[in-house]
């Protein structure tokens, strides 16, 4: 794993009217790392994802991806440049088959054929269900389908937004294994937002903590879990 930066977030601020959802956030994302993003509800995690993927324009600041300024490009252009993401709320194309869901991004980006798309389904353990309609899948499978669709863009960075919410203990373990697996198999950089603390601590190499739109800590899982400011943000006071 090199220490080269793949993405740099410089001083990004996002205002919604008078509310400061993100306040001068700076992040350097290293190529190949798994970076965890945590913070209490409403701390700006998903907003940061939305700014990176172009759904919200940044009020201030820039985002550089592989040395290129991608701030405020339209979402489909950012997706094609190699930044894939999943949604907190699953949104598969329900009336389409599992394989067709993956083919939309795979074929359209021109980067993958049917064979590669089926390989992605193997990796995400959905190959047995390739012919079923996406709406027939259970929650864990739908979440894996979200990841499979994002992978079919052959991204370099994958933004995973709470892919483990609502999953059972065993499913979370499987999901963790899969996330490290796809990082190694596809050589990806992964940023994940997660509320399941056990999960994010286990899988992330580095963790970034947001509170009320401001970055309050950054470091290894151990460092972050011992940080006073983090404990205060989560619990209200030092315990």
């Amino acid at each position: 794993m090199s220490q080269e930066n793949i993405m740099t977030i410089n001083n990004v601020t996002k205002m919604f009217g008078g509310i400061r959802a993100l306040n001068k956030v700076n992040v350097e994302v290293k190529k190949g790392e798994i970076l965890g993003l945590i913070g209490p509800n409403g701390s700006g995690k998903t907003t940061l994802f939305n700014v990176i993927s172009g759904f919200y324009p940044a009020t201030e600041g820039t985002i550089e991806f592989k040395g290129e300024n991608i701030t405020n490009l339209s979402p489909h252009k950012i997706a094609r440049k190699g930044i894939g993401r999943t949604f907190q709320i699953v949104r598969p194309f329900g009336d389409m088959t599992v394989i067709d869901n993956v083919l939309v991004s795979g074929l359209f980006s021109g980067k993958m054929g049917v064979k590669q798309c089926r390989d992605i389904l193997k990796t995400t353990r959905l190959i047995e269900r390739e012919g079923d309609l996406a709406e027939m899948l259970n929650l864990a499978e739908k979440r894996r389908l979200e990841i499979a669709r994002a992978l079919a863009l052959s991204p370099e960075i994958l933004l995973l937004d709470e892919t483990m919410a609502g999953l059972t203990h065993t499913e979370v373990d499987e999901s963790l294994k899969m996330i490290s697996g796809i990082r190694n198999e596809f050589g990806l950089t992964i940023i994940l937002v997660e509320h399941v603390m056990r999960a994010i601590m286990a899988v992330s190499e580095r963790i970034l903590v947001l509170s009320e739109g401001t970055k309050i800590a950054e470091g290894s899982p151990k460092e972050v879990s011992e940080n006073e400011q983090v404990l205060t943000a989560y619990l209200g006071r030092r315990v």
């Binding site: 489909h76 094609r80 598969p92 009336d95 939309v104 359209f108 994002a150 863009l153």
Partner: protein, 287 residues
């Protein structure tokens, strides 16, 4: 009430049903993709008819070029209308769409009137008619029906098996998720709208081979197309074809056994009943 009249009524009904189905498909694809109701459908059907008519007038050897030219012009016209007008209507209130597209209807109809006079026209192709007892089947109607079926199958095949079709289906279901897959929604809208207009033009070009038409003659067809779209489930092309055949048959029965003037009234009664009993349409799933 003879058996022959009954058979003839059904045959005529199915035939015109294909045309209603095609026009409805044009509407339903546009609605499905971008939630815009093409209120200019009637004028576009007539424009398609005129394009077919003029092609035949200048090249009166076969019916095929008229259809091809009409389809091509429809596609380009669709891109033009989308880029100039419809692009600006996305996400705007329904009333804005209504006014702008009624405006377009007015521009189109009056331009056609000015250019080509109010005289009714029809494409004078000499198709033979076969008679079986009292039932007569004109080959022009058979030809038109086959064309409509071929067009439907083509559209469905494109939807089901091509990348473009998968992308359109993806955009219909979830625009935001499709954007994340790298889909340029504005381009899909352009192509989706032109595809819808193309089918509308095709309906016009086929209609012109069987019925006379004039600049303001599109409204009755457009009205039927709206009923077909509701009955066949919004956004569902296959449903449109079935609903087209049903409404066509009803139209024909009302004409044979009552009076053709009442046909739109009956069609709209069916639409109201659909709204009351099965608002999701024939092909829709229960919400």
């Amino acid at each position: 009430m003879s058996l022959e009249l009954l058979a003839q009524t059904i045959i005529n009904g199915l035939f015109i049903g294909f045309l209603f189905g095609l026009a409805g498909m044009g509407l339903t694809i546009i609605f499905g993709v971008m939630k815009i109701i093409n209120f200019a459908t009637g004028a576009m059907i007539m424009l398609g008819a005129y394009v077919g008519y003029w092609t035949y007038t200048y090249w009166p050897y076969s019916a095929i070029p008229g259809i091809i030219v009409s389809v091509g012009v429809g596609f380009l016209f669709g891109i033009l209308v989308y880029q100039v007008l419809v692009r600006r209507l996305i996400g705007k209130p329904l009333l804005t769409t209504l006014l702008v597209l009624f405006g377009l209807t007015s521009i189109l109809e009056n331009s056609m009137l000015n250019l080509w006079s109010p005289n009714p026209r029809s494409i004078p192709i000499d198709f033979p008619t076969y008679s079986y007892g009292l039932i007569s089947i004109s080959t022009s109607r058979v030809f038109v029906s086959i064309m409509a079926i071929v067009a439907t199958i083509l559209v469905l095949a494109v939807f089901k098996y091509t990348t473009f079709g998968r992308i359109i289906r993806a955009v219909i279901q979830d625009k935001i998720a499709a954007t994340l897959m790298g889909v340029d929604v504005n381009r899909v809208y352009t192509l989706g709208f032109s595809l819808g207009v193309t089918l509308t033009f095709l309906a016009g070009a086929l209609l012109a081979m069987v019925y006379p038409f004039e600049p303001f003659g599109g409204l009755p067809y457009a009205l039927m197309a709206f009923v077909v779209v509701v009955l066949g489930t919004l956004g569902n092309p296959v449903g449109c074809l079935f609903a087209g055949l049903i409404i066509g048959t009803v139209h024909s029965f009302v004409g044979s056994y009552w009076t053709l003037n009442m046909s739109p009234a009956v069609a709209y009664l069916i639409m109201i009943i659909t709204f009351l009993l099965r608002p999701q349409g024939l092909m829709g799933k229960k919400e």
